[in-house]
Point group: D2
Chain length 235, copies 4
């Protein structure tokens, strides 16, 4: 199988280009650099993992809202499969992974949701309630597509520490073929839905562009806030 196409063409490429500084602050965040060179303090990573568990539940709800808002069989199917994958497979993997870091599921479920965590998912839900499927997918895009970009970059970067880096499994997960293919499918869905919902190239000439690019940039900044949160574990 050939390598998945870089999803940064199409609408996703235009959106990241339009919020360049925010995007770079997200994908090149100190938290990410700490994963790459293994210098991230363990308690930061554990804090992040526990929040990410809670995040996955609401992220799954948001993708379910995408099913609610779909009217084509391909969109219904793609989002439904993702929701099932997240809730009935990924969360179990996440729990296993957390177990390796000394966090059991009871501890995960009892973790108070941090404001920066809650803010991102609830913002996404509200974009979905207020807008259409495109608004929702654009608010969701920084997460799936951003993690794919981070994973791909770190995995391709010879400077990434391999030996003795406790975060290598994280990098391999998001940089791996399965996640990359999922991200490519998400980017393709974004373009497909944009085309049907009146957002077409040249993107920034479209009436929907100001609102769509604002949603994306806002969501990117909320992802930056999520990394910031990771660096500030409770005492």
């Amino acid at each position: 199988m050939s390598a998945p196409r870089d999803p940064r063409g199409g609408l996703f490429g235009a959106l990241t280009a339009a919020c360049g500084a925010d995007w770079r602050a997200y994908v090149g965040h100190p938290f990410v650099r700490g994963l790459a060179d293994g210098s991230l303090p363990e308690r930061c990573f554990r804090h992040y993992l526990a929040q990410d568990y809670l995040f996955l539940l609401h992220y799954s709800r948001a993708w379910s809202l995408a099913v609610v808002k779909s009217d084509r069989l391909d969109d219904l199917r793609q989002s439904a499969a993702l929701v099932d994958l997240l809730l009935n497979h990924e969360i179990a993997l996440h729990v296993d992974f957390c177990g390796g870091w000394g966090l059991d599921e009871t501890a995960l479920a009892a973790t108070p949701e941090a404001p920066a965590n809650r803010l991102y998912t609830r913002y996404v839900m509200d974009r979905g309630l207020a807008g259409d499927l495109l608004d929702l997918l654009v608010a969701l895009a920084p997460c799936g597509l951003g993690y794919a970009e981070i994973g791909r970059r770190l995995l391709a970067d010879p400077a990434t520490k391999r030996e003795g880096n406790p975060y290598l499994p994280w990098i391999e997960l998001y940089g791996g073929a399965e996640f990359q293919e999922g991200a490519a499918a998400m980017a393709a869905q974004l373009d497909r839905v944009a085309g049907r919902r009146g957002l077409t190239p040249p993107w920034d000439g479209s009436a929907r562009w100001p609102s769509i690019s604002d949603t994306f940039a806002t969501a990117v900044r909320l992802e930056v806030g999520f990394w910031d949160m990771g660096l500030a574990p409770p005492a």
Copy 2:
């Protein structure tokens, strides 16, 4: 004050033109002709009035969903004022009006919602949940703008029976300046929101047109079903 502009230019005009036969079936329905010449059986009108009371409650909920889905102060304000007008003024007028036909509010509230009534408002709510503000406004348009067209036509038509027509107050309400101005404001909002949400002339060249025109035509057929229901009161 000058007469309000016919709202059938702009998007609304394009939508009615695109579903011409359905639109004519709606605004020229036998129920409407029975109002015009006074021949509508009284029990049909009473059945219609009782269902219309229930309709107003859900129609108000749908316009509240429009507030939920608005992001501009002008849209927020316009829909909020309409919801308040409907619930805190129009319903009281409707109840008074029904009183004149021998229906009190307890009887109105106890009326079972007819399928054709329920179908229209729930379809509208779902278009709002699934789509964006434009999808919702387009699903709502046949009601407000259609009643305005019916009222305006009947009032302007010399063949409309005036003397001794018990339905003249109904015609005067929907043909009157206040309702016409409200409808003109609705049509203007439709054009304004369409422009921001990526639906621009030439309408039928827009990627959103197939879905938008389908929503409108469907809602028009559900309005036809509402008139049909009026002609078939329970025994």
Copy 3:
């Protein structure tokens, strides 16, 4: 494996008992009797199958709304698995099944949604938007649990025609172990959610009972309307 427990205990049992005449009109509908003795005209069944294809899409959206409205991992998982099953497996089976009756997927997707079909799913969606997870599950219950009861009864009834009955595969599907187990899981979820959402036995002493039992009875009547629709195929 032991046979699944009859799901008519618990809340579901109370709800069916409370709307006995409507429930009997649903599960003993002439359409159902025509399936049992094989006398249902083929064009009625084909009409039903085409509408059921469209139904499945919106039914899946409604179960996705249940995911959106869930806050426990067990509920999130159960509804997400069902949505994925419906969209990524059941619809394909349904399309295969329809193929055996001469209906291909293009024809299915192009079928206009009949009013009685649209009415049920949009009513369910609105109960979900207006209410909580329990209101939504109760509106959904007549479908899954009713089909399970119909299938189980017909399969257990010696009077059901087996040989030469073209509808036997339909009966075997809904009466079969897999569907019965799914229905038992649904009934168990209903009781579990009711308990958390303030509806507890004695059911009819609960403040939520009037609204919940009205939702259920309304949905049952809309299912009756769905069967009625099946008996009235377009000319």
Copy 4:
């Protein structure tokens, strides 16, 4: 007219009692004390005012969602009147008030929404989408009822600085009869809806209590975050 009853009886009283420390942190926040003695830095108040303008828009959307989720005429009417009051009257007053502090509406509308501001309203919206009318009203309660308590306390407290306190108009607004009556109506609605939705005294014996009291306590902490934000204006 007699003074409005303290709304802290009923469900609201139980909710505030159950999260006592959080509630005290909210109504006795340093920001509030700075309003009371006039010591709050002007740039903090201006920052707060600009954020509060944006807050009002989303708060109005949340109350519109309450209309969407209502099924009784009294609830529909009360929430609709509040939304209209907020959008078509209060915001204009707020803009006037801000004008006196040197902030014009263009500046207000161009203010970036602070995370703590966005977090509260989007959390409320999501409680409304996920839950029922009661979940939504409980998430909304800390705002209206908390401001009423703060205003009433400060106005009644002889230690509150009157002469030369630039924040006295703010205190008089929220401590004044009109706002107090609105708050009393909100508290009454909360009890009324709780009764219908299966949450009855003794509150903490109800199956819904853990979730309801968690929603309230969370919203109170988000209000504390809103005050914290006020004390940390951008440089």
